[in-house]
C-alpha cells in the first residue's frame, strides 16, 4: 500500500529515550525517503519519564525506551500491545582525558579512584532515567563482585546529587564541559560523543544475559505509576525496546517506522551509534 496516499498532512509522533536521539534521527531519514511528505515529531526524555508521560495522557504513536521491562511494568496492555527488543548495551564509566586520575583508572581501582576527595562523579536520576537506576545496580553488584562491604553507600554519599544532571545525555555534556571527572553512561553514548570510557567487568555492567540471575540480586526503589507510591525494580541485562501506541491513528506508518529500526537498515544505524543490534 502506498502510505503517502493515506497519510499526507499527518504527523507521526515519537517519544524516545534520550540515549536513542541519533538512532531515531537516522531512522527518520530512512523513513522520510519512503514516506515523503509525512511530518515526524520527536521528543527525547528519560525512559521512565517517557512511559509516565503516556500514562498521564500525552499522545505518541511510537515509544522507544532504554529498558524493555518498562513496557510490561507501565504500558502493556492498556497503552501498548506488542513491543520489540532491538538493541543491547552496557554501563561504562565515561571521562574526559583531563579528568583527575583518568590515566591510571582500571577495572581494579575505579572504586578507590572515584571515592578520592578531589575526584567528582555523577549519575542520572533513577526516577526518570534507566541509566540512573542501572548505575545504582552496578554499585550494588560491585559491592558483591569486589567483596567491598559498604561500597554502595559510599558511592551514593560521594556522588554529585542526581538532580543536577537528571538525564544520562546531560551527564555526557557535563563531562565535555569538565563539570565532572567521571559519569556513569551507556557505552553507546560515550562512543557517539567520542569520550574515553572504562569498560566494567561483565558480571556488573548489565551487558550479559548469562549473568541475569546475578544482576537480579540488585534492587532499586523508584516512584511507581501511582503518584506517591514506590516500587522495587531488579537488575537485568540492558535491552532497548520499541512499540507503538494501541490508539495511534496511523498504525501502518508506525509499523513502517518500527520495521526500519528492527530491520537491516536499523541494524546498520545501531552499529554506527555504538549499540548492539539484537
Amino acid at each position: 500500500m502506498n502510505l503517502n496516499m493515506i497519510a499526507s498532512n499527518k504527523v507521526l509522533r515519537i517519544i524516545h529515550a534520550g540515549a536513542l536521539q541519533r538512532v531515531i534521527e537516522n531512522c527518520i531519514n530512512h523513513f522520510s525517503k519512503q514516506n515523503s511528505g509525512i511530518k515526524v515529531e520527536i521528543k527525547g526524555v528519560g525512559s521512565r519519564e517517557g512511559a509516565k508521560r503516556l500514562l498521564s495522557g500525552e499522545k505518541y504513536d511510537i515509544i522507544a525506551l532504554a529498558d524493555q521491562s518498562l513496557f510490561a511494568e507501565l504500558l502493556v496492555p492498556d497503552l501498548v500491545e506488542n513491543y520489540f527488543v532491538f538493541a543491547a548495551d552496557q554501563i561504562v564509566i565515561g571521562y574526559d582525558p583531563s579528568s583527575r586520575g583518568s590515566k591510571e583508572i582500571t577495572q581494579e581501582n575505579w572504586v578507590d579512584l572515584l571515592l578520592k576527595d578531589q575526584v567528582s562523579f555523577a549519575r542520572s536520576d533513577h526516577h526518570l532515567d534507566p541509566c540512573g537506576y542501572r548505575t545504582l545496580m552496578v554499585w550494588q553488584l560491585a559491592e558483591k563482585f569486589y567483596d567491598k562491604p559498604g561500597l554502595y553507600s559510599k558511592m551514593e554519599a560521594s556522588c554529585i546529587p542526581y538532580t543536577i544532571y537528571p538525564k544520562s545525555i546531560e551527564l555526557a555534556e557535563a563531562l565535555f564541559r569538565r563539570k565532572v571527572d567521571y559519569a556513569f553512561l551507556y557505552s553507546s553514548e560515550a562512543k557517539q560523543l567520542g569520550l574515553p570510557y572504562l569498560v566494567l567487568p561483565s558480571k556488573i555492567n548489565l551487558s550479559n544475559p548469562a549473568y541475569a540471575n546475578f544482576y537480579d540480586q540488585a534492587a532499586v526503589t523508584v516512584e511507581s505509576k501511582i503518584p506517591g507510591k514506590n516500587t522495587i525494580i531488579h537488575g537485568n541485562p540492558i535491552e532497548f525496546a520499541i512499540g507503538f501506541s494501541k490508539d495511534s491513528p496511523y498504525p501502518e506508518l508506525a509499523q513502517s517506522f518500527v520495521d526500519i529500526l528492527t530491520g537491516p537498515e536499523g541494524s546498520l544505524i545501531l552499529d554506527e551509534c555504538g549499540l548492539i543490534s539484537c
Binding site: 506488542n82 527488543v85 543491547a88 544475559p209 528492527t262 548492539i276 539484537c278
Partner: protein, 122 residues
Amino acid sequence: MNEEMIGKFELTIPIERSIQAELLLLLGQKPSHGYELIQRLNDAEFRRGEADAATVYRNLRRMDKDGLIESHWEVGESGPSRRLYKITHQGEESLKLWVKYIAQQKVKLENFLQAYFQFEKS
C-alpha cells in the same frame, strides 16, 4: 602449565569462527533468540570463559546474512517480541563440516598427547 597459561594458549584459537559452530549446534537442537542463546552457550561449557553478548549478536547477524540461519520476530504472549533464529539446510551442512574438522583436530591432538606421554616415559 597453570590455569592462566592455558587461558593464554586458548586465545590463539579463532573464537570468532568456532562460535559459529557452537551457535549452529545450539540452533540445531532448537530455535532460540539471542538472549537465550547467550545463556545456553554459557551453560554448554564449550569454551573457557564467558560468551560475550556483542560477539554472539554480531555472529548471529552475519550467519543470518550468509544463509546459515534464518530469523523472524516472535511475538511474545506475555513479554517482549524477540528475533527468533532457526538453522537452515545450509547451516546443517556447515555444521556437519565443522564436526568433521573438529573430529580431525581431535585425532591430531590425541596423536600429539600419545607421542608426548611416550616421550615422558622414555
